[in-house]
C-alpha cells in the first residue's frame, strides 16, 4: 500500500500543526516521522489514520481518496503511545476485538478467531499471557499486545504513535530491534512517530524530519545524518557545534579571525557553521582552521570530551579519541574534517 499526502494543512486555533506537508510513502517501507514535540508529526499520523481531519489537502492510499473514509473504513492499524488496551478484557479478548466487531457477513467463526489470535500472540511472543488482564502486564508486554491487536484486522497500513515513548530505556532498545525484525517478517507499510533520533535512525528505512508543521528533510538514516539539508536537521540529529560566522570578500571569519576554509559559492553575510563534535580533528597549534585553549577534559566511554575556548571568543565541546593526549591548558589546532554552512 502506498500513501500519498499532498499539501496538508491543519490548524489548532492560530497554531499551524501542519503547514503544507507533502509526503509519499512507498509500499512495504518502514518510515519514521522524527521531530521535536509540536512539530506536527503526531497530527500527520492521526490524519492518515482518520482520527483527525485536515483543514485542507489530500490523503490517498494506493491513489484512492482516504479522506472520504472514516477511521473505521480505512483499515489502518493504530498503536498508541499509552497502549489504549481495553482493561476489562483479557489479552486474548483485546487481540480478538477487531475480529469480533466485524460485520456479521465477513466475521470469522469462533474457531477461526481463536486460531488467528493464537497466531498473533505467537508472533509477538506472548501467547502465555492470553488469559491475563492488561493491568497485570509490563509496559513492554502491553505495547506488544497493542501491536498484535492492531495487526489482527490485517491492516493495510500500520501506524505507531511514539510506540516506545512510555517505556524505559532498556526495554525500548529491545523493542526497537524487535519491531524492525517484525516488520521484516510481515512487510506491511508502516509509519512510526518518534522524537528520539536514535530510534528513528536505527529502525526506519527512511526518515522524515519535521519541524514546526513542515518537512525539513526526507532521506535514508545515513542521508539525514551525513547530509543534513537544513540547519534545523543538522542541529536536531546528532550533536553539533554551531559557530556564528561572517562570509565576505571570499573569506570566512569567526569574530575577527579569518578561517582557513574555502568560501566558494557561499552567499555573503552572517551564516552558521555546523560541525559534528567528532569531526573536529585535534592537531598541533597553528595546524588547523581554528585554534584554542583546552579548558578541561572528561572521559565519555570511548571518547574524551574537551571544552575548548576558541581564539575567536567562542567555547565549544569536541569529542576526541581516548588515545589523543589532551590536558587542560594545552593550546591546540582544530580542523573540521567535514562541516556544513547554512545561511542565517
Amino acid at each position: 500500500m502506498t500513501i500519498e499526502v499532498k499539501n496538508l494543512v491543519k490548524k489548532f486555533g492560530s497554531f499551524a500543526a501542519l503547514d503544507g506537508v507533502d509526503l509519499k510513502v512507498n509500499d512495504g517501507e518502514l518510515l519514521a516521522l522524527l521531530g521535536p514535540s509540536g512539530s506536527g508529526k503526531t497530527t500527520l499520523l492521526r490524519i492518515i489514520a482518520g482520527l483527525d481531519w485536515p483543514d485542507s489537502g489530500e490523503v490517498s492510499f494506493n491513489g484512492e481518496d482516504a479522506l472520504a473514509q472514516g477511521a473505521r473504513e480505512r483499515h489502518v492499524g493504530f498503536v498508541f503511545q499509552h497502549y489504549a488496551l481495553f482493561r476489562h478484557m483479557t489479552v486474548f479478548e483485546n487481540v480478538a476485538f477487531g475480529l469480533r466487531v466485524q460485520p456479521r457477513a465477513v466475521r470469522k467463526d469462533e474457531a477461526a478467531i481463536r486460531s488467528r489470535v493464537k497466531e498473533l500472540l505467537d508472533l509477538v511472543q506472548l501467547d502465555w499471557l492470553a488469559d491475563r488482564y492488561p493491568s497485570q502486564l509490563s509496559g513492554g508486554q502491553r505495547q506488544r499486545i497493542a501491536l498484535a491487536r492492531a495487526l489482527a484486522i490485517e491492516p493495510r497500513i500500520l501506524l505507531l504513535d511514539e510506540p516506545f515513548g512510555a517505556l524505559d530505556a532498556k526495554v525500548r532498545k529491545e523493542l526497537r530491534k524487535w519491531l524492525r525484525s517484525l516488520h521484516h517478517e510481515i512487510h506491511v507499510t508502516s509509519i512510526f512517530v518518534t522524537h528520539d533520533q536514535e530510534e528513528a535512525l536505527e529502525v526506519a528505512n527512511r526518515v522524515v524530519v519535521m519541524d514546526k508543521g513542515r518537512i525539513e528533510q526526507i532521506g535514508s538514516p545515513d542521508d539525514v545524518y551525513d547530509n543534513p539539508a537544513t540547519a534545523f536537521v543538522h542541529g536536531f540529529i546528532g550533536e553539533s557545534i554551531v559557530l556564528p560566522i561572517q562570509i565576505g570578500d571570499g573569506a570566512i571569519r569567526l569574530g575577527d579571525r579569518q578561517l582557513d576554509l574555502a568560501a566558494d559559492g557561499l552567499a555573503p553575510g552572517a551564516s552558521k557553521l555546523f560541525v559534528r563534535r567528532h569531526d573536529m580533528l585535534v592537531g598541533p597549534p597553528g595546524s588547523g582552521a581554528f585554534e584554542g585553549a583546552v579548558q578541561h577534559v572528561r572521559n565519555f566511554g570511548p571518547v574524551q570530551r574537551a571544552e575548548v575556548a576558541l581564539s575567536g571568543g567562542e567555547t565549544i565541546e569536541i569529542d576526541a579519541p581516548r588515545d589523543k593526549e589532551l590536558r587542560a591548558g594545552d593550546t591546540i589546532g582544530l580542523n573540521p574534517r567535514r562541516y556544513r554552512i547554512f545561511a542565517g
Binding site: 472514516g70 473505521r72 489502518v76 498508541f80 489504549a84 482493561r87 476489562h88 478484557m89 493491568s135
Partner: protein, 261 residues
C-alpha cells in the same frame, strides 16, 4: 483498626442492634400481623418499587448527564456541574415544597401535564418524581471520576479496529463503567428508599396508594405504637441490606474483571 471498629459500632451497629432488640418485644405472630397488614405491604411496595424505578431512571439519565459534563466543553458547563449537587445540598423539605408547587395542578409543569391527563402531585407519580430528583447526584458523582479517568484513546482504538459507535459503547465503554454505574444505582436507590422530607409534601400520603414506608413509621410512632414502627423499620433495614449486598457482590464481580491498575 480499633478506632474504626469502635466508631462504626457506636455510629451504625449499636443503633441497628437496638432496633432489632426493640422488635423482639413482639411475638412472631404479632410481627407477622403488622407486616402482612394491607397498609404496611402497600407502603413497602410503594417505597421499594418506586425507589427502584427512580434509581433506574437516574442510572440512564445520570449517565447521559455525566457523558455531557465530562466529554463536551460547552458554555456554562461548570454551572451545570454545580447544579447537579443541588439535590444534595437542598433541605429535603424545601425540595418537597418546590416540587409540589411546580407539579400542583396550577403549577408551571403541573398545569400542562394535567391538561394531558397526567396528575403528578399527590399521586405515586409525584413520589417517583421526588425520588428521581434526590437521587440524580449519586449516579453523576460516582460515575463522573471513572469516566474522566477513561482515556478517550480507547474509543479511537476501538474505532480504528473497525467497531461502530454502538459497538464501542456496548463493548468498551459500558463494561469499563459498570462498577461505577452499579454503585451509583445502589446509592440512588438507597437514598430514594429512605427519602422522607421531599416525598411527603408531594405524595398526598393516601394510605395504600401514595403512602411511603418511612411515613408509616412516623405515623405509628405518633400513635405510640413503637413496636409496629420498629417492625416496619426492621423489614426496610433487611430488604435494603439484602439489595445493597447483592449490588455489592455484583460490583465486586464486575471489578474482579478489571483488576486494579
Amino acid at each position: 483498626m480499633g478506632l474504626t471498629l469502635s466508631w462504626l459500632s457506636v455510629i451504625i451497629l449499636i443503633p441497628l442492634a437496638g432496633l432489632f432488640l426493640r422488635s423482639l418485644e413482639l411475638s412472631p405472630e404479632q410481627f407477622w400481623n403488622i407486616l402482612s397488614s394491607r397498609r404496611t405491604l402497600n407502603a413497602l411496595r410503594v417505597s421499594f418499587g418506586l425507589a427502584f424505578a427512580a434509581a433506574c431512571v437516574n442510572l440512564v439519565m445520570g449517565s447521559i448527564i455525566v457523558w455531557a459534563l465530562v466529554r463536551y466543553r460547552f458554555p456554562g458547563r461548570r454551572i451545570f456541574d454545580a447544579i447537579v449537587d443541588v439535590p444534595f445540598a437542598l433541605p429535603t423539605a424545601v425540595a418537597g415544597v418546590a416540587l409540589t408547587a411546580l407539579f400542583a395542578e396550577k403549577g408551571w409543569l403541573g398545569a400542562p401535564l394535567a391538561a394531558l391527563g397526567l396528575k403528578v402531585a399527590f399521586t405515586p407519580v409525584g413520589i417517583f418524581v421526588a425520588m428521581i430528583f434526590i437521587g440524580i447526584p449519586f449516579v453523576v458523582r460516582t460515575v463522573q471520576p471513572v469516566l474522566q479517568d477513561l482515556d478517550p484513546e480507547i474509543e479511537e482504538a476501538a474505532g480504528s479496529l473497525g467497531a461502530s459507535r454502538l459497538q464501542t459503547i456496548v463493548r468498551v465503554i459500558l463494561p469499563s463503567l459498570a462498577p461505577a454505574l452499579l454503585t451509583g444505582l445502589a446509592l440512588a436507590f438507597a437514598r430514594a428508599v429512605g427519602e422522607y422530607g421531599s416525598v411527603i409534601f408531594i405524595a398526598g400520603n393516601l394510605p395504600n396508594v401514595s403512602e411511603i414506608a418511612p411515613l408509616l413509621i412516623v405515623i405509628r410512632l405518633s400513635e405510640f405504637r413503637y413496636a409496629d414502627a420498629t417492625a416496619i423499620a426492621v423489614v426496610m433495614l433487611v430488604v435494603s441490606f439484602v439489595i445493597i449486598f447483592a449490588v455489592n457482590r455484583l460490583q465486586r464481580w464486575a471489578q474482579s474483571r478489571i483488576p486494579a491498575r
